[in-house]
């Protein structure tokens, strides 16, 4: 009887331990090779001017490429001279004012964020870049507009902040579909200048303890 009792207790405790072990088993997780985050750092004036210059150059290249019809049919250097220094209220459709400009503003914001500027500085630099675009590039086809001057950087920063948080979450899941969407909505994370891409290395000490090591590359 003692033997049976002992065996019974032994079996029960063994199975309960087994269940406990099963319950405590960690959820399976995808192994991620890269960890994405934003790192704020200080910049030299030269570096900041360089970034403003790069964005300005890209804007000159992208404007005729993205709107070839408007650029060729409505643009002229005479118009450039007439529009120089003018500011008007544009009567564009909501498609442009509430969608295209905030989205392009968000990408400006995310460019500066990717290069290590903090949120408020990224927004201020987006302000400078979009103002330069309005007053010295877009005037080839139309005068600068109040809505674009304000909404591109301000709504752009708000949309950009949302994209920033959502894309980080998606990218750090490690799921290929989520990563694809994360990179699509925040393409700046794909470029080499993105400073928050961190290589992760799993650490196993052989005593049951595990961890992840992050290595930053500058």
């Amino acid at each position: 009887m003692r033997l049976i009792s002992f065996l019974l207790i032994f079996c029960l405790s063994f199975t309960s331990l087994g269940f406990a072990a099963q319950n405590e088993a960690p959820e399976p997780e995808r192994q991620v090779k890269w960890h994405y985050e934003y790192k704020d750092r200080s910049h030299t004036k030269l570096e900041t001017w360089k970034h403003i210059g790069i964005v300005y150059g890209i804007s000159w290249a992208l404007y005729p490429l993205t709107q070839p019809t408007v650029f060729t049919e409505e643009g002229s250097f005479k118009k450039y001279g007439d529009n120089f220094g003018r500011v008007v209220f544009d009567r564009d459709t909501p498609f442009w004012n509430w969608l295209v400009h905030p989205i392009s503003g968000s990408q400006l914001y995310l460019y500066y964020r990717a290069n290590g500027y903090n949120r408020i500085d990224s927004m201020a630099l987006s302000f400078i870049s979009s103002t330069l675009f309005e007053f010295t590039i877009e005037i080839y086809t139309e005068p600068a507009s109040v809505q674009d001057l304000y909404q591109t950087p301000v709504l752009g920063a708000i949309v950009g902040l949302g994209i920033e948080n959502l894309s980080l979450w998606l990218l750090n899941t490690g799921h290929p579909v989520a990563k694809f969407i994360g990179h699509t909505i925040n393409p700046m994370t794909l470029f080499g200048f993105f400073e928050g891409k961190v290589r992760t290395y799993p650490i196993i000490d052989g005593k049951g303890k595990t961890g992840v090591s992050f290595i930053y590359e500058f």
């Binding site: 408020i120 809505q147 304000y150 301000v154």
Partner: protein, 225 residues
Amino acid sequence: MNSRILLTLIILSFIQSANAYENEFALKAGGSVAFSHLKYIDHSEDNAGGVGFNTNFGYRFKSFEFNLTSFTAFGEMEKLTYQIGGTRVDGEGSFNHASFGPTLRYYFDVRPNTKWQWYIALGPVWSINTFKLEDFSVQSGTYKKQYRYSYNSRGWMLTIGLEEALISKDLNPAYIELLIAYQTAYQVALLDNSDFKQVLTLESDSVRTNIYTTTVMINIGLMVF
């Protein structure tokens, strides 16, 4: 013991009088509920209701803050008479409104035992209003369904509000404010929106005093960063 109480009181009073941020840029944004009263030609009047959003981007000193302010509303209009040049039309439909202007804001001191700080702001405002008429009757001239009627106006805005007095702007202080704007139109335009992506201005005219808009908005939002 007394010194401990004194120290606690000093710390508490410091927290209450501390601003969430000083000598810094900040961006605030939130949702809005708008009520507008329009007086138009022939003494036609309308009350319009809408929803929208508001943003403030500015630099705060100690008690003063300079902002670039914007508020936007979308809503429905009832019957009004619109005229531009030889085109005159009665109609009702939807509108979108966008206002912009620089404002100077003054923060009052935080009252003891409160977490909120009163502020008042004043500044000039410029706006654009665009109307899409769904149901209309043309009295003279030509007006089509794909046309839009637009006017620019300018005036003044006054804001009275409450903002959470927190120790850091990283805590995203909330605000609630009442905004009142009074504007008069200075330019009207008739637009053709047949092309989804491009708006043609068919006619534009200068006006001075025949459209008065009073807008009352309740804005609720938070400091984004």
